[in-house]
Amino acid sequence: MNQDHSLPAEFHLPNLERRAMEPRALKSIVLSAITIAAAVIACIPLFSVLILLLYRGAQRLSLEVFHTLPPTAFEAGGGFGNAIVGTLFMVGIAALISVPFGVLAAIYLAELGPHSRVAQIARFCAKTMTGLPSILAGVFAYAAVVLIMGSYSAWAGGIALSLLMVPIVMLTAEEAIKMVPQPMKDAAFGMGCTPLQSMLKVVLPVAMPGIMTGVVLAVARAAGETAPLLFTALFSDYWLQANEPTASLAVLIYNYSGMPFENQIELAWTASLVLVLMVFILNIVSRTIGRRKKI
């Protein structure tokens, strides 16, 4: 049937068969295997932590731990309701400070003066701040708030956490605003929008999912921070009083894990599980918001 297409004698069809033992193919298989192994190994720490937390922490997980105060030395039972409230309160304070601050700064960086000196310096500072050891945020808030107010407090804790959140919110919000297509921004100006109107009516609604993702990630990070709170909020065995030392999950874990009492150590495990679950849920929320993103 292929008489018409018959090839000249000196012309051979290339061999298109797959041969697994050829050096090139072999190299490709080995390298692929290594990358898969690396990817799997990278997951091991997270899963082993989760499994251990579930195993050790779930034993004491009950409604009781959410609404009772920490036990004293030889007391049985108890919980860490105050630490959950404390963590939520301080993270809330931090978010209230860092979200407006970060988003406003991002608007300036992305839209109003992206090339200005101020923007360049601010961007550089924010990038440096994201790598700032969190203990330094604690020391700073200690000097700036605790020493002046004369007491450890939830306010100081919130401010210390906000120092860590501002750069994250700022940089992710800047990215989100920059991602809004330029033609859409042009259209807004072409319709006769002032910069403020363009921002509020066109750019921010489109950038909002991206900004929310950044905010949630920043909140998740702040919720797990211990070092800044050691210097600012300290710990407390009582319910939240914002002007007094305040309990938080992270510091509770730090304190109780080193104690010689079985009850406290068990509670530290359970608190770890609760904290990880909180961060986990926040991450899922941020992914859900991010996925709804549609230009």
Binding site: H115, P181, P183, M184, D186, A187, A188, F189, G190, M191, G192, C193, T194, Q197, K201, V202, P205, V206, K294, I295
Partner: protein, 278 residues
């Protein structure tokens, strides 16, 4: 200017309108346009005639888009942009210090090369400019009229709540036209409005432009000479001057479309139309 209240412009209008030829609604005198140190356009005087379509043609980089975008001060948003010259609109130079660029853009609408509807419903896209101007009358009617004016109503009347970005490219561009004409600007600038569209959508837009000129004045940049021939009443030909080492665009010739295409005065125009250079 029915939706705008800018008293200082009003009084100027009354004072100097007589000085201009009756049918020139907007007179663009671009002496020099710079981006930073780069001289992009020189010596281009383009009068825009009322209720006509003025086509800007010329090779790439000849500054035709730059001149067009200077007319409603869109270029103000570009870093380093500097305009020397005047743009008379109702006797007011829109580059005067006291003039608000935002107000200019509300009266001189713009349709861009890439269809760029907002990420909101079709209805809200069209209502956008009206809301900006705090229009308080019958919004539904205005939106319907604008969509009819842009020959889009029949295709979208049952899905006004859908996102404007869900439409096809040609529909998006007509949505952008509807958005621009909803506020009834006096002049509509179009920057290669068909270059991202297929031939069928292009044809629809061209037919639409001819309809639009009954109510508005249109200036259109196009890289497609046939398009200029089909729709434009006046045609402006720009070319690039590379003599001084730069790439400076300038106006070579302007005239009625039939005169410019059939009987160009300048040799450069003749060469370009024959296809000797691009």
């Amino acid at each position: 200017m029915m939706l705008m209240e800018y008293p200082q412009n009003r009084s100027d209008t009354v004072r100097t309108e007589a000085a201009l030829p009756k049918d020139v609604i907007l007179d663009c005198q671009a002496e020099k346009i710079y981006y930073g140190d780069f001289l992009a356009v020189r010596d281009s005087h383009v009068p825009i005639h009322k209720n006509q379509i003025t086509g800007f043609i010329g090779p790439s980089g000849c500054g035709k888009s730059t001149v067009l975008k200077s007319i409603n001060r869109m270029n103000d948003l570009i870093r380093g942009f500097r305009f020397e010259g005047k743009v008379h609109f109702h006797g007011t130079d829109i580059y005067r210090k006291e003039v608000d660029a935002v107000a200019v853009r509300r009266n001189i609408g713009m349709v861009f090369q890439q269809p760029n509807p907002f990420s909101m419903s079709i209805y809200e896209n069209v209502a956008f400019g009206l809301r900006l101007n705090r229009f308080s009358g019958n919004m539904d009617e205005k939106v319907e009229n604008a969509l009819r004016g842009a020959a889009l109503w029949d295709e979208v009347k049952n899905k006004l709540k859908n996102n404007g970005l869900s439409l096809s490219g040609g529909q998006q561009q007509r949505l952008c036209i509807a958005r621009a004409i909803a506020t009834e600007p006096q002049v509509l600038l179009m920057d290669e409005p068909c270059s991202a569209l297929d031939p069928i959508a292009t044809r629809q837009i061209e037919e639409l432009m001819v309809e639009l000129k009954k109510r508005f004045t249109v200036a259109i940049v196009t890289h497609n000479m046939q398009q200029a021939m089909r729709v434009a009443d006046q045609t402006v030909f720009f070319a690039v001057d590379v003599s001084k080492g730069g790439r400076t665009g300038y106006l070579v010739e302007m005239g009625s479309t039939s005169q410019l295409f059939e009987n160009p005065k300048e040799k450069l125009t003749k060469d370009y139309l024959r296809g000797d250079f691009s």
